[in-house]
């Protein structure tokens, strides 16, 4: 069964204190791994897609990396506006369910000034 586990469940950082969020996954053939940001009362907002082990993508203070078993979202010198829940999802290569994303429970990040 395809599964996504995110850790930690919650993370509190001081402004400027860099850290990483983890996403461990098991999937029958990875088609893509997705990171989303979700603010309270809003739908998930797309951040990155990673397709193969060794791939990295960056956007402002965020950098996502991918191995065969897990992905990391590195946050460098975070600011209070980076506070949100970060969701990881995988998409597998299998017939009838192509395109469906399987999500983890998310990591709630709080950045204090």
């Amino acid at each position: 069964e395809d599964q996504v586990t995110q850790s930690p469940e919650a993370l509190r950082l001081q402004e400027g204190e860099s850290s990483s969020l983890n996403c461990s996954y098991t999937v029958s053939g990875l088609r893509g791994l997705f990171w989303y940001r979700q603010d309270p009362g809003k739908g998930p907002e797309f951040l990155f897609t990673l397709y193969s082990a060794g791939e990295e993508k960056e956007k402002e203070r965020l950098k996502a990396t991918l191995t065969k078993k897990e992905s990391f979202l590195h946050i460098t010198a975070p600011k209070p506006e980076d506070s949100a829940t970060y969701l990881c999802a995988v998409q597998g290569n299998y017939g009838g369910s192509q395109g469906n994303l399987i999500f983890g429970k998310g990591t709630k990040l709080s950045v204090k000034p």
């Binding site: 997705f34 809003k42 739908g43 009838g96 469906n100």
Partner: protein, 112 residues
């Protein structure tokens, strides 16, 4: 580009009542998804449409949930009758191809 529109934003109903949610995807997006997000959890797929046909509804509780996508554009999701455990945010998403979903802001349903 206009985003995915959903309505209503909030809904409070009593158990055993019925409720309907509406979604208007991004223009031209053939694939539409309905997800359920219970507080503290990640979104879970309920149903996937490709144009106006159902691709995957394996996790839709068909005894009480139904969904349709007429003319391959707008979609409605209905719950009848609602249970307390249906309290959640119902998210609609659309995509042009299988990658890069765009989500709406969701409908927060509270069943009392």
């Amino acid at each position: 580009e206009a985003g995915v529109a959903q309505s209503p934003r909030y809904k409070i109903i009593e158990k055993r009542q019925s409720v309907a949610f509406w979604c208007n995807p991004i223009s031209g997006h053939a694939t539409l998804y309905w997800y359920q997000q219970i507080l503290g959890q990640g979104p879970k797929l309920l149903i996937q449409f490709q144009n106006n046909g159902v691709v995957d509804d394996s996790q839709l509780p068909k005894d009480r949930f139904s969904a349709e996508r007429l003319k391959g554009v707008d979609s409605t999701l209905k719950i009848q009758p609602a249970k307390l455990e249906d309290s959640a945010v119902y998210l609609c998403a659309s995509s042009l191809v299988s990658y890069g979903y765009t989500f709406g802001s969701g409908t927060r349903l509270t069943v009392v």
